[in-house]
């Protein structure tokens, strides 16, 4: 059995004032996966993410890094945050420097890298997100989508093994989402493990290879994307809707096996649907 990169065991977290935010929570993050934390508003997604890089210390249970219980002293935390990069939902919470280049250089310089090496890292990170032309722009003149990409570049420049993103697509337009997902896909192809939170079952279905469903501060289920999202009872308990593409695939009787079945792409499903309509000799009348 391989040791998972990061595991959460029986986690409980109480905010000061004794409000229980997370309880009995188990989560396993395996190397090389794309894991979606799917949950409705207020289900505890952000609180959970803040445990993944040691920002919050559990009030019960534990986080395991490479199978070892995580420690929360300054040195261990520094080491932890080198390996696990966290991107907050709101880019303005993260960007502090006046120019893009300066902001992205912050992490690498904190790693103790030389100025020359830092410049290389900054350039690489900006190129990975296709925003190299923004390097000398003032942070406050960027659009929301651009800020979001800069925030990710700032974490990426530290070359984390695991990249954790809080609602990465929230607030982005369709083009922005496509752009962002293809950038993340390139990172994933290069070997970065990805964890992201979302309330969008469509996104989880079309893009993640594993899904964990959160509800009222606990993980109801974690597993392969299709297997989890096929479970209608589970989704309705978590106040989520099954993804339309999955329902369409089911209605068309498409097999759902494999980690990345062709039925997840809307192009394939639409082509199938058209063929089926022609076969049944159904015609949608022109108006």
């Amino acid at each position: 059995m391989t040791v998972s990169l990061l595991a959460i065991l029986g986690l409980e977290y109480r905010y000061p004032g004794q409000i229980v935010a997370l309880r009995d929570l188990n989560l396993t993050i395996e190397r090389g996966r794309k894991l979606a934390l799917l949950g409705a508003n207020g289900s505890g997604k952000t609180t959970l993410l803040l445990h993944l890089n040691g920002t919050f210390q559990p009030t019960g249970g534990a986080a395991l890094l490479d199978g070892q219980p995580a420690r929360y002293d300054r040195r261990s935390l520094n080491h932890w945050r080198r390996r696990v990069g966290l991107v907050l939902q709101e880019p303005d919470d993260q960007l502090f420097a006046a120019t893009v280049e300066q902001d992205v250089s912050f992490g690498p310089l904190n790693l103790g890298l030389s100025e020359a090496e830092t410049r290389t890292r900054v350039r690489e990170a900006l190129e990975a997100l296709r925003i190299a032309p923004l390097a000398v722009r003032a942070t406050h003149t960027l659009s929301f989508g651009q800020k979001k990409r800069v925030a990710i570049a700032g974490v990426l420049a530290m070359r984390p093994e695991l990249l954790v993103l809080d609602e990465p697509t929230a607030g982005l337009d369709a083009h922005g989402v496509t752009h962002l997902l293809s950038a993340l896909q390139r990172l994933h192809d290069a070997g970065t493990t990805l964890v992201f939170s979302t309330h969008d079952a469509e996104l989880a279905y079309s893009w993640a290879d594993q899904v964990a469903v959160l509800h009222e501060g606990t993980v109801l289920a974690q597993g392969e994307t299709t297997a989890v999202l096929e479970n209608r009872d589970l989704l309705s308990r978590a106040r989520l809707k099954p993804p339309l593409l999955l329902e369409l695939a089911q209605a068309l009787g498409v097999q759902q096996n494999g980690a990345d079945p062709p039925s997840r792409s809307r192009e394939v499903l639409l082509a199938l649907l058209r063929a089926r309509l022609r076969g049944a000799d159904l015609q949608i009348p022109d108006r």
Partner: protein, 250 residues
């Protein structure tokens, strides 16, 4: 403020090394303060306005807007220098020749000095000035403070603006008493958000290995000696001409 920042980031001289702008402008400022203002002041004002508008390509309107605020203070304050009060035979106000001269000197000197600062702020992004301050050995804590304030001003200005719009949409400013209430609400809301923002920014920075020092890359721009020498030559010429004119006038 946003307009100033916009011009600072987009003018033709934005990419110059900040010292090429700071040294001539700073020297002119000092000249203005030590030379007789009536001769050197107009020269300084003229050359700085020329550099800002013709050189860096900042619209003249933007320069006038920046100069307008201090000019308003001058209009409000200077007349009192020109008049004197006598109690000899009853209370009387008189124009005094010395006072008039003082008022004129003050106006010219102040406008000339402000034009130097206006040139600097309109042509140099604050980040460049901060980098320069850092090199001059200003304590890191102070510089980080400037940096964060500069960044957060825009975040909060945006929020204040949106908040005000939302209040206005619900008729928050329909009467004076409602306006007071709305402004109070907005202020306390911004205060609360500022605290939350600070907490979240701390989390974001910690995630990137923040250990108490905001270190970022400096700019790579090289100082152009010819440009700096040209600037300083202009300063010397203005100084000499000012001095020569002053002798001619007196």
């Amino acid at each position: 403020m946003q307009a100033i920042d916009h011009h600072a980031w987009t003018n033709r001289w934005r990419d110059w090394h900040p010292a090429e702008k700071l040294l001539p402008a700073g020297s002119l400022l000092i000249l203005t303060l030590i030379l007789p203002p009536l001769s050197s002041g107009p020269l300084v004002l003229g050359s700085m306005a020329w550099a800002t508008v013709r050189g860096a390509g900042v619209p003249a309107r933007a320069l006038l807007n920046v100069l307008a605020a201090p000019a308003a203070f001058l209009v409000a304050g200077v007349p009192f220098l020109a008049v004197s009060v006598h109690f000899a035979d009853g209370l009387g106000l008189y124009w005094s020749p010395d006072g008039l001269r003082l008022a004129l000197d003050t106006t010219v000197r102040a406008l000339a000095a402000v034009s130097c600062l206006a040139f600097l702020t309109l042509t140099t992004p604050l980040t460049d000035l901060i980098a320069l301050l850092r090199r001059l050995g200003i304590p890191a804590g102070l510089i980080e403070l400037i940096l964060l304030v500069y960044r957060l001003i825009f975040v909060f200005a945006e929020r204040a603006l949106t908040g005000r719009r939302a209040q206005t949409a619900r008729l928050g400013y329909v009467r004076f008493d409602r306006s007071l209430r709305s402004v109070g609400g907005l202020a306390s809301n911004l205060f609360q958000r500022a605290l939350h923002q600070a907490r979240r920014m701390e989390i974001g920075l910690a995630a990137r290995g923040y250990t108490g020092e905001l270190r970022v890359l400096g700019s790579e721009r090289a100082l152009s000696w010819p440009r700096l020498m040209m600037g300083m030559t202009l300063v010397a010429l203005i100084g000499l001409m000012g001095e020569w004119l002053a002798r001619g006038l007196s």
